[in-house]
Assembly symmetry: C2
Homo-oligomer: 324 residues x 2
């Protein structure tokens, strides 16, 4: 199988954690090529006693760089080089924990948008009980039109089929009320359009439906979706802390027992264990990881990218979009 | 002290729970007048062996009614009558668990907007660790302009001073990144305007800051604020269920011990124990409760309204808005 191009210079903990994550995924059979400054990456690999292919990239895009400008001014950045490897077919997917904006721009411009796609979208997975929930857009497009939401619904449907193995996943429109006619003009118009598509549209969903699991795919604009993700993260951390404190105050329960028992819940809700989010609607598998990703998150992101390649995410997405 | 007008017909559990909540608050010294159908309310009071004043209102606005039309077509609805009692000075505040839209319209039209206020706003309390967080707008205005966010920041500042006893509360702009320049054009423009006001603006906040407590007052549009509230509720319920399940699976811990130990956390995060949200920017104290409020929520909403009256919420809001 062709390898996955990892932007080994991207993220707050690069290159130590990116290289370690790549070595970990590689040990499990995921083929990875490291993209970045060879003089930095080579010693990291040696320290881990590992041998992975390196494709040299002399430049690095910082988190503070303007994405469009960085893409133009730093043609040899690790993000751009990784994207070109995918474009040229030398890599089957790309993973980056670097600047999300730069990764999106590199994917859209260098790899290219899939035919018919107006706006590529970031699909994030929320680890809800039972089956997970896919939220899109979760940050790529803060301001959208109703027709964009319809494409997000289509792309989310394919992604839920590919990643969760679902048939006819249920699509909900994130709104501030259950009834039709609720929300901004965006939601009112999107509701009408969604009802006429081939997706399994179940109507509006609200925040508390994260606990009820009424829909598998949630569509919204990238501002609301991003707020949703981060609030989920913040509230989960807050509630687990409150629960730990309250339980540890009970005479019958030891703190260590509580911490041990809650560890699987913490892990389940931790983005480190999700790995990243898929950028959908481009001509390649692209996984965008959290800027603070450690080795576990990077390894998981590489596994996600691997699954996307193996299950032909791009081919299935393209044919679904063409048929819509 | 003049009494609080309770829309005794509003909410899914009216009149049984509304009357019971009123009786509960009244026993604690909160003066309440029940507004609604006397033939329904009188037997409820008798069943509880209580004696509260009733102001008859022959009509009721349903959850499905169009707010503006209902306000025009049902002049004797319990919501309208309650609002008129406030307008006429016969009641010092109004509480309703009925249609939020109708309560807002009744407050804005019958009680009247405070001088200089463009849009009244709903301020909800999120029970974050340490001190609580005030979120506004949390549902009144799904689509807003930057100058509305500035007024929400001013009103939220006064509300945090009045309700939390804070001095110079920290105001954050809910956004999808910490840095200035992030977000939609709404956030970009509001950021510039907020930096020039007298409020203690600390910049952008993100979902995960609910756990860090970086700001006391969060401003955003009513769509995002409402999603935030409901996601908080959904995630809190989900995480508590996961935690309970995980802990109960531990041999050393009994399920009953877990449930008992988590009860205070559940209670803290339960809207029943918050009671309701304040509608700010009108010429009276108005508390809007959850449609599914039980007696505890109603009693708490009445206490909130009582606090608002006692602490001169409206007077302080008016003078702050006039000085801005």
């Amino acid at each position: 199988m062709i390898p996955i191009a990892l932007d080994a210079m991207g993220g707050d903990k690069a290159p130590v954690e990116t290289v370690a994550g790549a070595v970990q995924a590689s040990a499990e059979g995921v083929e990875v090529v490291l993209v970045g400054d060879g003089t930095v990456l080579e010693p990291q690999l040696q320290a881990l006693g590992a041998d992975l292919e390196i494709v040299h990239a002399a430049q690095t895009i910082g988190m503070g760089d303007d994405p469009a400008a960085a893409l133009r001014d730093k043609p040899d950045s690790s993000i751009s080089v990784a994207a070109r490897l995918v474009k040229e077919g030398r890599a089957g997917a790309m993973v980056s924990a670097g600047s999300t904006g730069a990764a999106m721009a590199a994917a859209a411009i260098l790899i290219g948008r899939a035919k018919g796609v107006i706006r590529p979208t970031i699909a994030s997975v929320i680890p809800t009980p039972g089956t997970s929930t896919l939220v899109l857009d979760s940050g790529a497009n803060p301001e959208v039109k109703p027709e964009h939401l319809v494409q997000f619904a289509l792309m989310g449907t394919v992604a839920a089929e590919v990643f969760f193995g679902m048939t006819n996943p249920r699509v909900g429109l994130l709104n501030i009320g259950e009834e039709k006619g609720k929300g901004r003009s965006l939601e009112k118009e999107a509701y009408e359009l969604l009802a006429r598509t081939s997706v399994n549209f179940i109507g509006n969903v609200e925040g508390r439906d994260l606990a009820t699991g009424r829909a598998d795919v949630w569509v919204t604009d990238g501002f609301v979706g991003n707020v949703l993700l981060k609030v989920t993260e913040g509230v989960a951390a807050m509630v687990l802390d409150l629960a730990t404190e309250s339980l540890a105050g009970t005479a019958e329960i030891k703190l260590s027992t509580v911490v041990d028992a809650l560890a699987p819940v913490r892990r389940r809700l931790d983005y480190e264990h999700t790995g990243g989010a898929h950028l959908l609607g481009v001509n390649g598998v692209v996984v965008i990881s959290h800027g603070s990703s450690g080795r576990t998150a990077i390894a998981n992101a590489l596994r996600m990218a691997h699954d996307g390649m193996e299950r032909d995410l791009v081919g299935r997405m393209t044919s679904r979009l063409a048929g819509s």
